[in-house]
């Protein structure tokens, strides 16, 4: 199968988008490498604190007029952005594959999910309505007005370079706020293209800004007195110990969506073929680099024959996964994002062996790459049996294509070990029993719960939830909760004499 054309054809140094202008950064510049070809595709600046300050200043200056722009008019900018995203759907998707490594189907899925958030935010004239009570006392009425707050910082992760900032930004601007987006410096091209389309859609200068960079830029955001809130998606140590803590200290609103260790409970009454099929995308989609990827396969019951047959089917399916460059349409799993991440995953595989798990498929060597690509960032799927929750591979987030198989005696034990884990992001059960499903859904401490669904990704009109170490904050991104996060409730009580 021939490769789809790469959209990024020349290496350029990316610029920041501040106050409606493309501005060169004075910061040092680092290479952005395509993980499949290992070729440099762009150079991204690590912007300075002053550049972040300039973006916040621009956003702050734009806020009063943008707030006064009617919700209907603000929605029209978003409608135009949606049109432009549809027109450029394929290019935007291919950029994601080129800079991240995911397959083209996965990238198109990411693009679609991003656009869906813009679509939901287009409904802001209705979503943002307040409510009213007449005669709360004699001749007195009371109502609430959701009002925008000012400037928000949006910090994106590397694993969904296009979509994740769109869980927040469309709602923030739709409600009348202004934003400064900081994309991951590992995958900055997707947000750069998005900012170009924002510009083309005609948003007023300063409403939507983008500043490239790393930790120093994040620190500037967190310290900045004019940023009223932050949304963050990334690791738990950063989300909890840096973002959430600092926002608490500086009085900012915060949504910190963090790490995960997702358990997939497999009941003996499940539809085996469909469960195995779901496991392929859940464990190995996006090369396991998503906070909703299943990590532990918890097989319930003491039926050895069921267990043996099930695992055999899983292994047969895994071995058929085609690995390569995601712009080859036939490829089903791409590389991981970079060598450091691959090395980290390998260290986890080694720890699994050291702690006594049985390695039945070794992703370090048991795979081949379709096409002539350097193996720097490629890994095959890895499968361990006899994993226990106290092992590092059974309890910590690996963020790679590693399946840890556990056995438990019954559903109670499956729920118990799931709940004992520090994370609570996207756990699921596969069963044909409504009773088991209901019991699982009721008792599991997980922000997102799947019943015969492997990747529990909420649609744009539902909140992207999370519990325990997977989430810090109160309200979530997406849909109505995002609208609440980006607005303050102003309550008016009125009497006329």
């Amino acid at each position: 199968m021939a490769l789809l054309e790469e959209p990024i054809k020349e290496v350029r140094t990316l610029k920041n988008y501040i106050d409606g202008e493309w501005v060169e950064s004075k910061g040092e510049v680092i290479d952005v490498v395509n993980p499949a070809t290992y070729k440099t595709i762009a150079r991204v600046p690590i912007s300075t604190g002053e550049e972040m300050d300039a973006a916040v200043e621009a956003a702050k200056a734009a806020f009063p007029d943008w707030r006064r722009t009617t919700p209907v008019a603000r929605a029209r900018y978003l409608f135009r952005l949606k049109e432009l995203l549809e027109e450029n759907f394929e290019e935007v998707s291919r950029i994601q594959t080129q800079e991240h490594g995911k397959t083209i189907d996965e990238s198109r899925g990411e693009t679609r999910r991003g656009i869906e958030n813009v679509e939901v935010a287009c409904g802001i004239p209705t979503l943002m309505q307040g409510y009213y009570s007449e005669d709360i006392a004699h001749g007195i009425d009371e109502w609430v007005i959701p009002t925008p707050l000012g400037v928000f910082g949006i910090i994106g992760p590397f694993n969904f370079p296009f979509m994740i900032p769109l869980w927040s930004a469309p709602y923030a601007v739709a409600t009348g706020n202004c934003v400064v987006v900081k994309p991951s410096s590992e995958v900055p091209n997707s947000q750069t293209r998005l900012a170009e389309l924002v510009e083309e859609a005609g948003f007023p200068p300063g409403v939507w800004n983008m500043v490239h960079g790393g930790r120093s830029v994040v620190s500037s955001m967190l310290e900045h007195p004019d940023i009223v809130g932050i949304t963050f998606v990334g690791s738990t140590p950063t989300g909890r110990d840096v973002i959430y803590k600092k926002c608490g200290e500086t009085g900012k609103r915060v949504i910190a969506q963090c790490g995960a260790k997702n358990f997939m409970t497999i009941m003996p009454d499940c539809d085996v073929d469909r469960t195995v099929a779901a496991m392929m995308t859940s464990f190995f989609g996006n090369a396991g680099q998503r906070c909703l990827s299943a990590a532990n396969a918890v097989i319930v019951g003491d039926d050895d024959t069921f267990y043996k047959n099930f695992v055999e089917k899983v292994i047969v399916q895994i071995k058929s996964i085609k690995i390569g460059y995601g712009l080859d349409e036939s490829v089903q799993m791409g590389p991981v994002r970079d060598k450091e991440k691959k090395d980290r995953i390998i260290r986890y595989i080694e720890s699994g062996i050291e702690q006594g798990a049985k390695l039945i498929l070794d992703g370090r060597k048991d795979f081949s790459i379709a096409g002539d690509y350097p193996g720097v960032c490629f890994l095959g799927p890895t499968v361990f049996e006899n994993v226990t929750p106290d092992m590092r591979i059974g309890s910590e987030e690996i963020f790679g294509p590693v399946m840890s198989i556990m056995r438990v005696k019954d559903l109670d034990e499956a729920i118990s070990i799931t709940n004992a884990n520090a994370f609570g992001n996207g756990n699921s059960i596969f069963t044909s029993s409504g009773k088991s499903a209901r019991e699982y859904q009721y008792n599991v401490t997980s922000g997102n719960v799947g019943i015969n669904i492997g990747i529990v990704a909420p649609m744009a009109f539902f909140p992207f939830s999370g519990m325990k170490d997977s989430f810090y904050g109160v309200l979530h991104t997406q849909g109505r909760e995002a609208v609440r996060f980006f607005t303050e409730s102003k309550v008016v009580i009125q009497r006329w004499f």
């Binding site: 198109r108 899925g109 679609r112 496991m279 669904i453 990704a457």
Partner: protein, 145 residues
């Protein structure tokens, strides 16, 4: 080589449409009385490409999250789209019938395989298959005429 990914399946559908459109364009050049009908087939093919793309892009998230996979062997749907210089016009029309039958079979199989997706994709496939059945009738009357 079996086609598994949604992207591969859709690309293959587009290839069938484009290849058969080119066939009709060539055939139209050799036809005296039916060029308009044959060119309208080619035009319809381009429309079908858009319909398939729209259905695919509209439900791509479902294709990803729902662990969807085709199982299509392209060798089962090979089209003979070259028109031999020496071939008579009736023979070329019979060739067109074979092309249509093959494409109908492809869409019917693809619709069956994509039933687990949201309705858009199988519906788009079946709609095109049904419209093509009408085209078979037209080709039949051209052969009789």
């Amino acid at each position: 080589m079996i086609l598994h990914t949604a992207s591969e399946g859709v690309t293959f559908a587009k290839k069938l449409e484009n290849d058969s459109a080119e066939f009709y364009e060539k055939l139209a050049q050799r036809s005296t009385g039916n060029a308009e009908t044959l060119l309208s087939f080619a035009k319809e093919n381009r429309k079908y490409v858009t319909q398939v793309e729209s259905a695919y892009y509209g439900v791509i998230t479902d294709a990803i999250e729902g662990c969807f996979a085709f199982n299509i062997d392209p060798d089962d749907y090979v089209l003979k789209t070259t028109v031999d210089d020496g071939a008579d016009y009736t023979g070329a029309l019979k060739q067109a019938v074979e092309i249509e039958e093959t494409i109908i079979r492809f869409y019917t199989d693809a619709a069956e395989q994509s039933k687990s997706l949201m309705a858009d994709v199988p519906r788009a496939f079946m709609l095109i298959a049904r419209k093509r059945a009408g085209r078979l009738e037209k080709l039949g009357s051209l052969l009789e005429g």
